[in-house]
Amino acid sequence: MGLVAGALALWLTLPGEAAPEAGAKATIERVVAQALEVLGDASLSESDKQQKIEQIARERFDFPRITKLVLGHNYKKLSEPQREQFLVEFRRHLSLTYGRRLRRFSDEKVEVGGVLRHPNGDVTVRTVFAAGDANGIGMDYRMRERDGEWYAIDLVIEGVSMISNFRSQVQEIVSSKGADGLIDTLRKKNDKGSLTEPS
């Protein structure tokens, strides 16, 4: 582990890292540091932690774009009010599922590793959990620049893209139940999820 950390440190200090990648990487390093600080703060209640993490996520994830990407070609099928409703319910869904899961994390360490630039300008920042239950699990952030700032548009965990995974489920539901069915399914799931909210 020490060898890996040492190699990483050396790599990080190498000159010649092009500016865009460095910006994206620095953004992720900040986000990760902030999030880990919140999670490790014993004085905060679990719901406080969740709220703070969601605040960080709201600032750093481009939710409008993520919603569009998740809807994919079905975006056209939704009216403007339906798109609004979907965004609200989708965000609620993420909070109830992933946000809730964060409560289990407390002693995680994350190593921010390589950065890759894609032809369309996006940057993938690779991270790995280095301690705790999630030790060894890789988490990649796909970042896109907007007005000089970097925002995450996808989370790829062990090679599984969240956008791809959600989109295929959305596609399935829209084909079988239509746009209203999609929002309805989401809302029902969220209502049920918030009922089992642990204290």
């Binding site: 994919g72 975006y75 032809p119 796909r142 090679g159 295929s168 489920q169 399914t185 799931k189 999820g193």
Partner: protein, 249 residues
């Protein structure tokens, strides 16, 4: 194999299925067998809910986590022949060597594999299987295929699974009975370790069948790439198709 010709025919058919042209993947994955797959998936889910999950839950309640982790390490160590052969087949010699070292260290210093000093010593873990080896040599995965009990798979991975099974029974000289006992222990212990994850996945899913299908396909593709990300891989269909333009039409 008592009837080599039948077995060969079976393998050939499965591989041919895998070579069948991929269907249009506009929005969904390659799942031309969806009605069949959903049926098997449903049966597997019932078997899990009524048999495996309750047993695994019971096991989780009566066993200390320490014991479950030991068993998991032991079983992982036993899979060495699969990893050895699969790494070797892909000519990943450094990894083959590392896996061999890992096996020796964990079997001796790690007391028959119950402990994992190899990881502490920094020896890598290269979780290859024969399905990945087939992929390495260009075998296409083929359509998504849900197998009874085994679960999400593909023609290529099914053949791989079969080969792994042969590798585990053969070189380790395990009798079929021992194989069944170890297989059963593996199923219950692994299921016990995954109880919370499965519950969360089911709660998070809008369509659990699709969640598993998409997750499995992406996971296998990532494993075939050994977790590498190719930055130049075209991603228009996922990240770039311009929705804004589409609406303006």
């Amino acid at each position: 194999m008592r009837r080599p010709s039948a077995a060969l025919l079976g393998v050939a058919t499965v591989l041919w299925l895998g070579a069948a042209p991929a269907l249009a993947q506009e929005a969904g994955e390659n799942d031309p067998l969806e009605p069949f797959n959903r049926g098997v998936f449903w049966v597997n889910d019932r078997l899990d809910r009524y048999f495996l999950e309750p047993i695994a839950t019971g096991w989780e309640v009566i066993s200390p986590e320490f014991v479950r982790v030991r068993i998991d390490k032991f079983l992982t160590n036993l899979r060495f022949p699969v990893r050895f052969f699969s790494n070797l087949c892909q000519l990943k010699l450094r990894q083959t060597g590392a896996e061999t070292g890992r096996f020796i260290v964990n079997t001796t210093a790690g007391i028959a594999g119950f402990f994992d000093p190899a990881t502490r010593f920094g020896i890598g873990f290269y979780d290859e299987d024969f399905g990945q080896a087939l992929g390495y040599w260009g075998t296409p995965a083929g359509p998504y295929l849900v197998l009874p009990i085994i679960g999400p798979s593909s023609p290529r991975d099914a053949v791989g699974w079969g080969m792994d099974w042969v590798l585990l029974l053969g070189p380790t000289q395990l009798s079929a009975t021992a194989g069944v006992v170890i297989g059963g222990t593996n199923m219950v212990n692994s299921r016990a370790m995954a109880l919370e994850d499965v519950r969360e996945a089911k709660a998070a899913a809008l369509d659990y069948y699709v969640l598993v299908r998409n997750g499995y396909i992406q996971l296998r593709e990532a494993k075939n790439r050994d977790g590498e990300v190719d930055p130049d891989e075209p991603t228009e269909s996922l990240y770039d198709f311009d929705i804004d333009e589409e609406i303006e039409e």
